[in-house]
């Protein structure tokens, strides 16, 4: 039995006006375990805390109940006070007699009676409390960033600049990501490559950054501060140390028909290729599915031509195993598949393109060398229609329920750029709403309308019909004028919804990071912890968390970096001691607990147990207290009651139930 001191706070008149605090003290004093009870004006004041210290000393208290405001307010205060007074901080329980009692009840008898019951429940619980000590775990001072787009690059740079080692794992042959595919950026219209390339170079040159391109994360184990990751470095068939990046191999390669991923399939590339001119590293890879040498055994031109002797057809995938303290997911996005949107004729006409494809068309390094032309016949278009919200804000299962957020702005950008460069081209934008929250965003949009004469029509497009004359008949509605519109266009651009990269679900599973129905990773708290995953040590950067534009992505990338740096700056992590714990004598090893654990904190070990003289090896659940966040899901999944939650144990909660119901 504990020696419990109960301290009833008046909170000025906040409590005392509705609860007879003297009465509470009088009644609670006779509860089992209570050896001291007193009331005071403000328990949270220094004088109040001193009262706790005195009572601990004089009455040799082992447990403390403070009847006061919500534990969310002052639990930490009283725990610290207890610690200063020399008892374990987890021997403190709060009876919330303010928010849950005095503030909501008027009748003093009723409120007093309830305050007594809440105090009794707290006393009953403290009687079963055990001293808890936060655990410690070491921190590997190295971070992993998955994804080498602008989000990953920025996060890596910020972490590296703070003095920590960081590795970037990028799936494609070059870092750069989506941003490298863009032509201009809103709302400043500066050239995307011009601002991205220096960042790429900086990352490549940074002494604290290691970049693994053409690589994928294969396996993750461990926990915050101590992850072990296997990275599969796919064979490039080029010795990166020897390659000078001269490009001769690509010029000679006879296999030239593969659609270029970088150009969204609008152009072609060779079998040995670097995705784009500014690629980092500037080392090509061989696409074995396109390569004649790999397909037939003949050819080998590239190897012959390479002066550096860098081409090596025997290269194998390599597994790199590395330890990390933190992992940042920056896997970015892709546009959705438009197969379900037959009405826009995307699959029927080459002149119906997505906005991202338009970026490539507008880009000087793109398939048309920056000339705005129809992909069907190379003619200059005179009439272009933009259709907004293709697959975004969608109520059925063809698209996505969310707003892709960037489309309104990039469409304004496209419209403006076209009108600027080709003033004879008519641009019409069909929209549901134009959303322009952001610095200089609405101004930007208004410029498109007012200065550049872009024709914005509020309404949706029902159908795009390719005409025999090569034109596209757009059937839409103008909701403001309440009329149907039929427009013959030369080109139609679809503001296609974006979605998280397809690989993210696999990665989330490896990281035990939670993911929502739209495949965006879930943040630990939507408002207060937006760059952290609920899984400790996993951080989110960029669109993987939700749709965003470049400035938002960069700021979030920086925020994620700060969180990582904050973690890596610690030598050791203290862990929440209110974690689950399995009683090895009761554990069946059935895996029910691990199945419900959102953090992957439970593993099983064959353990030799001594069950009252019976020695046998059993499969026993082991909770990693560094990973466990203390939700308690496992405790209920466990049929034998082997799994219990420290600080909220079965018996503690039952004792509260008993105290309340008696």
């Amino acid at each position: 039995m504990q020696r419990i001191g109960v301290f009833v706070c008046h909170c000025g008149s906040n409590i005392a006006a509705t609860v007879d605090v003297k009465k509470v003290v009088e009644v609670i004093a006779s509860e089992p375990g209570v050896v001291h009870a007193e009331d005071y004006q403000y328990m949270c004041s220094e004088a109040g805390q001193e009262k706790i210290a005195i009572a601990v000393r004089e009455k040799k208290l082992t447990g403390i109940v403070v009847c006061s405001c919500s534990p969310r307010m002052h639990e930490a205060t009283f725990r610290k006070a207890a610690e200063r007074a020399g008892i374990n901080p987890y021997m403190v329980e709060i009876a919330n007699i303010r928010e849950h009692c005095s503030w909501i009840h008027k009748d003093i008898n009723e409120a007093t009676e309830k305050a007594v019951i809440l105090a009794r429940a707290a006393v009953a619980k403290v009687n079963l409390n055990t001293p808890l000590t936060p655990g410690e775990s070491r921190v590997t001072k190295r971070a992993l960033v998955i994804g080498g787009g602008i989000a990953g690059i920025q996060t890596a740079l910020d972490i590296a600049d703070a003095g920590y080692k960081v590795d970037i794992v990028e799936k494609t042959p070059s870092i750069g990501g989506r941003m490298s595919q863009l032509d201009k950026t809103f709302p400043t219209l500066d050239c995307s490559a011009c601002i991205l390339t220096p960042k790429m170079v900086e990352a490549a040159a940074h002494e604290n950054i290691t970049i693994y391109t053409y690589s994928e994360v294969e396996k993750v184990s461990g926990f915050v501060g101590d992850f072990t990751v296997d990275i599969r470095k796919k064979a490039r068939f080029i010795d990166a140390d020897k390659c000078t990046g001269c490009g001769a191999c690509q010029e000679k390669c006879p296999s030239k028909k593969t659609p270029s991923e970088f150009n969204r399939g609008l152009g072609t590339r060779t079998a040995i290729y670097t995705p784009f001119a500014q690629a980092i590293p500037n080392v090509p890879v061989i696409d074995t599915e396109a390569c004649i040498k790999f397909k037939t055994g003949k050819c080998g031109l590239c190897q012959k031509i390479c002066a550096a002797g860098a081409v090596d057809y025997t290269q194998k995938d390599e597994i790199i195993t590395e330890k990390y303290g933190a992992i940042v997911v920056a896997t970015g996005f892709d546009t959705i598949n438009l197969d379900k949107y037959d009405e826009y004729a995307y699959n029927q006409s080459p002149d119906v393109i997505t906005s991202l494809e338009l970026e490539r068309v507008m880009n000087a390094a793109g398939p048309t060398h920056g000339h705005l032309e129809r992909l069907s016949d190379g003619k200059a278009p005179k009439e272009i229609v933009f259709i907004q919200c293709v697959g975004s804000r969608c109520s059925d299962d063809r698209g996505k329920p969310y707003c892709s957020k960037i489309c309104c702005m990039y469409t304004a950008k496209h419209a403006m750029l076209i009108r600027d460069k080709y003033p004879d081209v008519n641009v019409t934008v069909f929209y549901i709403d134009v959303r322009t929250p952001g610095k200089n965003f609405d101004e930007f949009y208004r410029r498109a309308v007012e200065q550049y004469g872009v024709n914005y029509v509020k309404g949706q497009v029902g159908k795009v019909i390719p005409q025999p004359n090569g034109k596209l008949l757009v059937q839409g509605s103008d909701l403001l004028d309440n009329k149907q519109i039929l427009k013959e266009a030369d080109m139609v651009v679809l503001a296609t919804a974006i979605e998280p990269n397809k690989d993210v679900r696999k990665i989330a599973t490896m990281l035990t990071a939670s993911i929502d129905t739209n495949n965006f990773l879930t943040e630990a708290h939507a408002k207060l912890r937006p760059v952290e995953s609920p899984t400790a040590g996993i951080f989110l950067s960029g669109v993987v968390q939700g749709p965003k534009d470049i400035p938002e992505t960069v700021s979030q990338a920086g925020a994620a970096a700060v969180k990582v740096v904050g973690l890596l700056a610690k030598d050791k992590l203290t862990t929440n001691p209110c974690t689950a714990k399995a009683d090895e004598l009761l554990c069946n090893g059935c895996s029910s607990c691990a199945n419900v654990c959102p953090y992957g904190a439970i593993s099983y070990e064959d353990t030799l147990v001594n069950d009252h003289g019976i020695r046998e090896t059993r499969r026993i659940a082991i909770v990693n207290s560094a990973l466990c966040q203390g939700c308690g899901a496992c405790t209920v999944a466990c049929p034998s009651g082997a799994m219990d939650l420290q600080g909220f144990s079965n018996r503690q909660i039952l004792s509260e139930v008993d105290a309340i119901c008696r």
Binding site: S70, P71, R72, M73, N96, R98, E99, H100, C101, W103, I104, H105, K106, D107, N109, E110, A111, E113, K114, I117, L118, A121, S514, D516, T522, H525, A526, P534, C578, V596, P598, Q629, G630, C631, G632, A633, T635, V636, A637, L645, F648, N650, I653, L654, E656, V657, D658, I660, C661, R662
Partner: protein, 145 residues
């Protein structure tokens, strides 16, 4: 201690620490009254609530038990309330099956911002339990004396 002979139900409310307990705090700081019959037990998450706790409350004389957690999708631990939702659905169904009146148990999702909902929910729940009267089908008679 009740002044007249009006039936005063005993009601146990399990509230998750992150949403519903905070919602109850908000109800308090907004002075949104609900009957003193409701006593709150703080649990880390609705998924910490074991059916045993609920039966124990009835055993010891509770007339109603309500479990409050974060809205589905908003769980602090991301998935806890999804498990709680299944567990409670099945448990409540079983209680109904053995003849315990519907309505003695309830699950409500109350966020930290929903002080009004918390108070309204408790007012409504207490009224419903008062309507059902004393719990006689699921208690241990030894506790009634």
């Amino acid at each position: 201690m009740s002044v007249n002979n009006e039936f005063r139900p005993k009601i146990v409310a399990f509230c998750c620490n992150w949403c519903s307990y905070a919602g109850a705090d908000l109800a308090g700081s907004s002075r949104l009254a609900y009957p003193a019959d409701v006593k709150i037990i703080r649990v880390p998450c609705s998924c910490r609530v074991n059916p045993m706790f609920i039966l124990r409350a009835f055993e010891k004389g509770a007339d109603g038990v309500i479990i409050c957690g974060c809205h589905p999708g908003d769980c602090h631990y991301s998935t806890g309330n999804y498990y709680a939702r299944r567990r409670m659905t099945l448990l409540f169904s079983m209680l109904d099956y053995i003849g315990v009146e519907k309505g003695r148990t309830r699950v409500e999702w109350v966020s930290a911002a929903e002080g009004v909902k918390f108070s309204d929910t408790m007012n409504d729940f207490v009224a419903k339990i008062k309507g059902l009267g004393e719990n006689v089908r699921l208690g241990d008679l030894r506790c009634k004396n």
